[in-house]
Amino acid sequence: MSIEIRLPTALRAFADKQEKIGVDAGTVGEALEQMFSKHERLRQQLMSADGKLRSFVNVYVNDDDARDKQGLATAVKDGDTILIVPAIAGGR
């Protein structure tokens, strides 16, 4: 398992409370699919009905926003970290 997907606390409840999930994949999309195959409930949290990333969830490969690269087709390699960063609004 050479690529690590890191989940924020809000989403860990959908992944048996795990904070990181190891996958082997060539693209961000493949990595997410592998994660969904283990934790199907995450799919609805991250993806819209038409299979796109939801607009309030950002996916970073290391410190780059996948949206600024090739989105779900962005290549990933061994040792990369995929970070899921949903919008949060708390302040009070």
Partner: protein, 379 residues
């Protein structure tokens, strides 16, 4: 406007700033002549306003319309036990002026709206966003871009925080980071999901640092970057945020030239409660007293159930409902509650889609504690 000079008393007070060449008397004068608007006097606004006041920012504005509640004091350190039940603004002002009588504090006791935000922001140099909902965050962002004011942004959730500076001329704005808000109800609020009390202390303090840097013109503002803080891991990560060339508010081709309707933008106008049948806690009490036949379903988390529960309820946390709804008798009448009525509204919607006769309890167990049984703790 004529620049105000530092008095002898101020020079003594700000000595630790004055002896640093990066600030010095000139920098301290900049702080004295600067103004920051804190949007919200809550978890983030508390340390933010306190440190800005201590640092000698000459004019601090605060927008809020709330009163101090006992449950605020776990994190909102600008208020204290004696201020419970009083206006947050008055409580904050008293504390700030006690800390530093050389500054002025301006109170705006109002909800920030599309109608008042632009005029208000124009009166300040820097805006610090410490609100607690997406609609106001998008409003603050857009009004900052429209008025050219930088936004020292902070946001918190449970054990995690986000920090950035948005709205600088060449930098991205909040919409570049998140083009659209989540649909209502999908992301729980701090009131529902909780927040570690110290966390806003960390993030609000960092917002104050960014505000001071912007005023002083020193260092590198946190623009084009998003910092994530994880208290459990005790780690910071810095991610890149690019300016979106198609951003509807901050790009060259911007289509938003004035604040929009943010409640509609955030989907709040189609409240799920509109189409979801609900009853009041008084109705629920009457049904219990009459021994009517129904199943009372509590969709909160087990640790919340331990703090407070209504006798005879069945606990199925909202997140477990899709796998456990089969445990409920399909012919039965279901009355569903949570803490405040938001999660249970989603549960009712889900159960009705599955063919159940489900009804929401408006106001949840908090309303039950308030109106029916005060021995049930509020949390």
């Amino acid at each position: 406007m004529a620049q105000l000079e530092l008095t002898t008393a101020e020079k003594a007070r700000y000595d630790r700033h004055l002896i640093m060449p990066e600030v010095g008397p000139e920098g301290q004068k900049k702080l004295k002549n600067a103004s920051v608007l804190c949007v919200g006097a809550g978890g983030l606004g508390s340390p933010l306003a306190l440190y800005l006041a201590a640092a000698g920012v000459g004019r601090i504005g605060i927008v809020d319309f709330d009163v101090v509640d006992e449950s605020n004091l776990q994190r909102q350190i600008i208020h204290d036990t004696q201020s419970v039940g009083t206006s947050k603004l008055e409580s904050a002002k008293k504390r700030l002026l006690a800390l530093n009588p050389f500054i002025s504090v301006e109170l705006h006791e109002t909800r920030l709206t599309s109608a008042n935000a632009v005029e208000l922001f124009k009166k300040y140099d820097v805006i610090a966003d410490g609100t607690d909902n997406f609609a106001t965050r998008y409003l603050v962002n857009d009004a900052c871009v429209l008025t050219g004011r930088p936004n020292a942004y902070g946001s918190i959730f449970r054990f995690e925080g986000q920090l950035a500076v948005f709205g600088l001329k060449d930098g991205p704005c909040y919409r570049c980071l998140y083009p659209e808000p989540p649909p209502p109800g999908l992301v729980p609020s701090c009131a529902e999901a909780g927040v570690l009390g110290v966390l806003p202390g960390v993030i609000g303090t960092m917002q104050a640092i960014e505000a001071l840097k912007l005023i002083l013109g020193i260092g590198r503002p946190l623009s084009g970057r998003l910092m994530l803080y994880d208290a459990l891991e005790q780690s910071w990560r810095t991610l890149k945020v690019k300016k979106n060339p198609a951003c509807p508010v901050c790009s060259e081709n911007a289509t938003i030239k004035a604040p929009i309707d943010y409640e509609a933008f955030c989907g709040l106008k189609e409240k799920p409660t509109m189409s979801i049948p609900d009853i009041s806690v008084q109705d629920l009490k009457a049904m219990l007293d009459k021994k009517e036949k129904f199943i009372l379903v509590d969709v909160r988390e087990p640790h919340e159930y331990e703090i407070a529960k209504i006798a005879g309820s069945t606990l199925i946390p909202l997140g477990k409902l899709p796998e456990r709804y089969g445990e409920l008798d399909k012919g039965a009448k279901l009355i569903v509650h949570c803490k405040m009525g938001g999660r249970s509204a989603k549960a009712v919607q889900f159960l009705r889609e599955k063919g159940y006769d489900a009804t929401n309890v408006a106001g949840g167990i908090n309303a039950w504690s308030e109106s029916i049984d005060p021995s049930v703790p509020q949390y």
